[in-house]
Each structure stands twice: as structure tokens, then as C-alpha cells.
Symmetry: C2
Subunit: 239 residues, 2 copies
Amino acid sequence: MSYLDQNIVAATDLQRRNAASAKHEAAIASFAEFGAKSLKFAPHDVVYYEGDEARRLYHLERGTVMLFKLLPDGRRQVVEVLRPGDIFGLASSEEHDCTAETLTDAQVQEIDLRHVETSPEFQRRLTRCLTSQMNALHDHAVLLGRKSAQERVASFLMYLVPNRGGVGCVGPDPERTDDSCDIKLHMTRQEIADYLGLTIETVSRVVSELKRKGVIRADKSDQIHLHRVCGLCQMTGFH
Amino acid sequence: MSYLDQNIVAATDLQRRNAASAKHEAAIASFAEFGAKSLKFAPHDVVYYEGDEARRLYHLERGTVMLFKLLPDGRRQVVEVLRPGDIFGLASSEEHDCTAETLTDAQVQEIDLRHVETSPEFQRRLTRCLTSQMNALHDHAVLLGRKSAQERVASFLMYLVPNRGGVGCVGPDPERTDDSCDIKLHMTRQEIADYLGLTIETVSRVVSELKRKGVIRADKSDQIHLHRVCGLCQMTGFH
DNA sequence: CGACCGGTTGAACTGCATCAAGCTGAGTGG
DNA sequence: CCACTCAGCTTGATGCAGTTCAACCGGTCG
């Protein structure tokens, strides 16, 4: 069965499923003040499916989660890649508009929607979180709408470098003599392609091209060494 | 001076300017409880520029506003098209991440950021508003990342039909015998192109193609009659 | 050992961008 | 009232970045 065929099955199957609920474990702190319950997920577990009833909020404590949407013919777009601290699962209708799937082992707190209504402190945290997610979505719209394949891949890699990338990139840390960095992708080529609005082959070709140019070295296919972060940053389209 | 050249000037000029503040007028109700001040704008006025200090929130009462970002070489991406009821101007850093420009005459309420911190009622409205904007951004990411030019234009036109388009499109109103509709774009071909991640020529060609197929009729270039809304909806990629 | 999955690479194709020319209609001025 | 202009739009011809199709490679697992 081809990749697209698999997604078609997934797309038509969305309505019927109802995820999460299964894999919880002991409760931990952080949003405990809101009666949050902590769940653990393995890589590629689904937290909820697009179309599931939206009853709870989720706070990502550890690991990485992606949100994606499917078109009925199987085309997929990963719309967000979330990191620890992000909140997800808030829906404007009764249903989730995306599927949420883990990329790595992940720990997620489940928060009762009631707190959205009642706790001003929680509201403030939520607003801050939503705002920064909106900013990320704006940047991503620029990437998807206006950047070349090479710029997309470069931007994606920079996104994984702590405190770098983006418009306001400060340049290399003056404290350090070299400007190299090791990053772990935690995503397959397919997931990267679906995030960047490209095909798997194009992602692969651009990565190979970057290796050939000596900008990066790929130790394992999801473990990449950036020789000069600033050099890569120059390729994002932001400079 | 070419279009891109103009944008380059705009892009490099962003930091220096500081918009809004000039064109206010009498205060009106709606968010008046939060001490909001009502401003009036003409088409293509700028409410704030990307990089301006983010001090206030804005509530769109009447008209249409777009948010866009520029790359330093002049490429532009319109990231959101806002409608009455939407709130904009909330920033996760000290600066606005987009430029906000009116498409039509518009009336905008300026709200003090203090209310974000203090009023739970305001917080609730804000959360609801941000959530639905996030959903729109998710849909737009799918459009930009995965849809063909024709699907983009069809989706865009459907977006302008009240209560239609999107995944959960209910189909034609059973009360009505015909399924036609008149819409006004309020955007130039350039703005549409920058919103859909296409070029002006491609937008023009797709619109002409839709005319040739008899799906639409363009009375004036920004005034379009949809013969069968459902037929157009079939071309969005959602069905 | 073979099957399989994720990734890479090559060759050919194509949808959209680019470049260039012409059209249309609103505004301006003689 | 018509000629001129200019901005926004359309249309055609050509080019190319990225997709598609297909073969192959290397690691892992039963």
C-alpha cells in the first residue's frame, strides 16, 4: 500500500476513532494546581484525532508532538511542531481540527477545560502560549508560501538550534570560538516533507546538497552536525 | 520601480516607522467597557508595522484588515485576512511580528494591554478569538503547503461565502432553489497572490479558467458571481 | 538469509514562475 | 469630448524548481 493510500485510509477513518484516554500514568506537578493528570506516550502515539470531540486541553511537558491535517485524498500537512511548554487541543468548534501525534517519547498533562473559564492565572499562561504559537504559524506561512526548498530546509534546521534562527537571530554566541552545533531531528523525511510542504525526495536532495557544500554533516539520518550555524542561517531567506 | 523593489524599500524601512496613532476619531461602544478608543481607517492604511513596539491590542469592528510579513528581498506573505470581531496586535515579544494594513474602510478599537492581564471576561473573549484564528491558520497552512493553484483560488473564493467552505461545509441552503452567490473580493490580484502563495499571473489565469468553465462570472475584477457555490466547493480539495 | 522500511539518487515531466506584451477603465487635462 | 496616462489586470511564450516515477542502497528484524 502506498503512502498516499495509507493516508486515505487514515483520513476516512478519522471520524470513527477516539484516541488518548488509554495510556495514562501517574500524575505529576506543573499544572497540578489545575488538577492536571499526567500521561505518557511512546513515539508515534496519537493523542487525539482530527474530528474527535474536544473535551480537554493538553500541556506538553516533555518530548515533541506534531499537529497535522489530512485532505481526503491523503495529502498531509503538518501544521505545528510543539515543544515542551506548549499547550494544544483547544478547539473553536466541538471537534479537534488537527490530529496530534507524538514524534518522540512524550509526557503530556491533561487539563480540564473548566480552567479555561475560571482561572485568570491559567488564562494568562494560555494567552501567552497561544500568542507565541500564532507567531510561529505566521513564520511558517511565510515559509510555505514564499520560500524555496533550500530555504525551507535551512529554516527548519535553524528552528532546531536553541536561541537561533528567525528574523531576530543574534548571530553566534561571542563567548564561543566555533559556531557549530549538533541537532537531532526526531522526524522522518516524510514528516519533515509534510511539515515543509515538500516531497520526501526534495528534502533528501536538499540535505544531500547541504552535505556536499560542507554546511552540515549527517552522522545518522536524523542526527545532524551543523558546521557553521551562521552559514546555515544565511540560507533561510531571513537575511 | 518594480513591485519587488518597492517591497524591498518597505522591508528595510519597517524599523524606522511607527504607524497608527495618527488617524483616530470618536470613541464607540462594544469594548468600551475596557476603555477602548475607536479609530477609523481608509483602505490601505497601516495600523502598525512589523517591528513597531507592541503596546496595544486592536479589535476590528468594521471592514477588513490583512496581516503580512516581508522577507528582506521583498517577497511578501499575507498571513491572515481578518474580519469584524477579530482581535489582532497581540505579540509574544516586544514587537509586532507582522504589518497590519486595512483592505477596506475600517473601524478599529484600540484596547489597552492592561486588560489582557486583569479582566477574566476579556481573557475569555480573547482566548475564543485566538483559537479560531489558529484554526484558520491551520487551514491556511494546508492551503499553502499542499494545494494546487486552482484549489487555492477556489478555497479563497469559498472563504468569502458566508457559512460555506471549509471541511464541514453543509452544502447549499435547502431553503433556496439556486445555489449562486455574489461576493466582493476587496483585494487586488497582488494581495490575493500574496495571500495564496502564488503570483499575480497565476491568480489571473486561474480566475480566467474558472470563467471559461462557467463556474464564475466576473462583473468587475473584484466583484464575482458564483453560479453554483457547491460546484466551486468541489474544487477546493476538501471534497 | 530474505523481507522490509527509510532513505538516496537518477531521469523525465509538469505546474507554476518568469519575462514580455497588450488590454481595460478610471482619472486628467486640453 | 477625445487624447493621454497610468495602474491593475490579462494573456502568451518560455524556463525551471520541484514533483513524479523508478531503481537502488543500507540497516534491522524475524
